[in-house]
């Protein structure tokens, strides 16, 4: 018998998309007259999309350039978050004392919004760029810290016993057993952190007025070009989605058992 391919998994996402476009069109035609319709959004934005690398000044650049600035900033802040968060997570996971020392602090710091950190960053660094990175790192590192710590704590005790029977040194135990055994959790933390970093970058750029996709969005709001706001929002979502997928692929490669 011939195997029949069910087309619905490929078709249904488009149905959802058309539904969203329909609601959007409806809204722009009825209640929200200032909201550009999908068609208008496209005609007013296509220059930015079709020529993604043009540059007509600091705040008027193609989408590719804007996204690139944001991505570079995210990479820097995210790297900072991982550089601080991963070792901190291992420390907290390995030592009960460190855990008791830092756990309450983390629980208090974790729910603080990037919008609250940013002014503090500006006070400390006086410049918008380091303030943005500071905010990014501070907001994005918690999932890495917490997941790494959980990963270390949930290592199969048999693996640790193997190391104990072999009398591995503390360093060897860490490098050969603890790190690889907690990697699956660490990766979950890294992935969540990246998602948060991307959320925060937009807010940070909006507030500091830095060139990038978030800064552009805010500027176009002030300039009353609403279609560009919509274009920016869609771009932010799409890039966030792609980043998460890339992280997912990387995670799969490192997954053991």
């Amino acid at each position: 018998m011939k195997k029949k391919v069910d087309p619905s998994p490929y078709l249904l996402p488009f149905v959802g998309l058309f539904f969203a476009l329909f609601v959007w069109t409806l809204l722009s035609a009825t209640v929200a007259k200032d909201l550009p319709s999908p068609y208008r959004t496209w005609t007013e934005s296509k220059h930015y999309i079709l020529h993604p690398f043009f540059k007509d000044g600091e705040m008027n650049q193609g989408l590719g350039r804007l996204a690139f600035y944001s991505l570079v900033r995210v990479v820097k802040g995210y790297a900072l978050a991982l550089l601080i968060g991963t070792p901190l997570g291992f420390l907290i996971g390995l030592s009960k004392k460190t855990s008791q020392m830092f756990d309450p602090l983390i629980q208090v710091l974790r729910p603080i919004s990037p919008l609250a950190w940013l002014p503090l960053g500006l006070v400390i660094f006086q410049k918008s760029e380091p303030a943005a990175l500071f905010t990014l790192a501070l907001c994005a590192m918690w999932p890495t810290v917490l997941n790494t710590a959980v990963g270390v704590r949930s290592i199969n005790p048999d693996f640790l016993n193997v190391g104990r029977v072999l009398k591995l040194s503390r360093w060897q135990m860490f490098r050969k057993i603890i790190v690889p055994a907690s990697m699956p959790y660490v990766f979950i933390g890294w992935r969540l952190s990246l998602g948060i970093a991307w959320l925060v970058i937009v807010a940070a750029e909006m507030l500091t007025g830095s060139p990038g996709i978030g800064g552009f969005l805010w500027q176009e709001y002030n300039a009353l070009v609403y279609s560009h706001i919509l274009m920016s929002i869609l771009t932010i979502g799409l890039i966030g989605f792609i980043l998460d997928r890339l992280m997912g692929l990387l995670e799969k490669r490192f997954r053991t058992t």
Binding site: N161, V162, R164, K167, K176, I177, P180, T256
Partner: protein, 272 residues
């Protein structure tokens, strides 16, 4: 001198209803080169016994000595094969064994370490799976890797904690035969925990029955009078097999340690 000696060893764990004695008054003596199997019900404290000898856990009372030196912690002189293989899943077969070689013989050159690793992988007939990860292997193959890793440590005592209990019957028989062959070639001191009576009789020189917990203890040893080299074939027809089996089964059914009757029985610390 007794090679491996447990004197009045006791261990209890705290639980919801106070402390519960798992083992108490355990006396065991092993001669060098002897194969001893402990048989008992699951939950009777067999794994605790192995953990204590391995030094992964400390006894509350009593004293464990290997070659006269007290056991204070884990060490590579006691190679352990755990019940659930405990291979490191992110390492290949080769790397798992190599890790052990590297840890116990850091002074060897790299080439020597590689040779030794290969030697023990070949010994369990896994050369073709050398570069595979544990999850690509069957249960029997995994346990072979664990055996190779244990042997590669060249331990003074080889501790086996129900090594084949998770395997299907056919694979288990194959691995038992291989362990028998390996032991008869090397005559390593082995302390094995099992719940399989036939496995114990096939492999061991002496069988120690573990009474039912709580507060389990080891009854007088049951000698296995079957000449070596042994073979699975016709084993059950030998009078030595039948005597040993009867005494173990009597013990397991009654829960009382078997009476000390017959010549050679209960010779604790005795050399065959």
């Amino acid at each position: 001198m007794t090679f491996l000696e447990l004197k009045n060893v006791g261990k209890s764990f705290s639980s919801a209803n106070g402390r519960r004695a798992v083992l108490s008054g355990v006396n065991i003596g092993l001669a060098e080169g002897e194969f001893v199997a402990v048989v008992g019900y699951s939950g009777a404290g067999k794994t605790t016994l192995v953990s204590l000898i391995a030094g992964l856990d400390a006894p509350d009372e009593g004293d464990i000595r290997l070659e006269g030196r007290p056991v204070t912690g884990p060490g590579p002189d006691r190679g352990v094969v755990f019940q659930n293989y405990s291979l490191l899943p992110w390492m290949t077969v080769f790397e798992n064994v190599f890790l052990a070689v590297e840890a116990v013989a850091p002074r060897l050159s790299r080439a020597e370490k590689i040779d030794r690793t290969r030697h023990f992988i070949n010994m369990v007939k896994l050369e073709s799976a050398s570069n595979k990860k544990p999850h690509e292997l069957s249960g029997g193959m995994r346990q072979r890797v664990a055996v190779a890793r244990g042997l590669a440590m060249k331990p003074r005592v080889f501790l086996l904690d129900e090594p084949f209990s998770a395997l299907d019957a056919l694979t288990r028989a194959t691995l038992q035969d291989e362990l028998l062959r390996l032991w008869e070639e090397n005559r390593q001191t082995v302390f094995m925990i099992t719940n399989d009576v036939d496995e114990a009789i096939l492999l061991a020189d002496r069988i120690l029955p573990l009474t039912k917990g709580p507060g389990a203890t080891v009854g007088p040893a049951i000698p296995v009078d079957i000449p070596r080299p042994r073979s699975r074939r016709g084993l059950s027809l030998l009078p030595g097999y039948q005597r040993a089996k009867k005494r173990i089964v009597d013990f397991l059914l009654s829960g009382v340690p078997p009476a000390d009757n017959g010549p050679g029985a209960g010779s604790e610390g005795g050399v065959q």
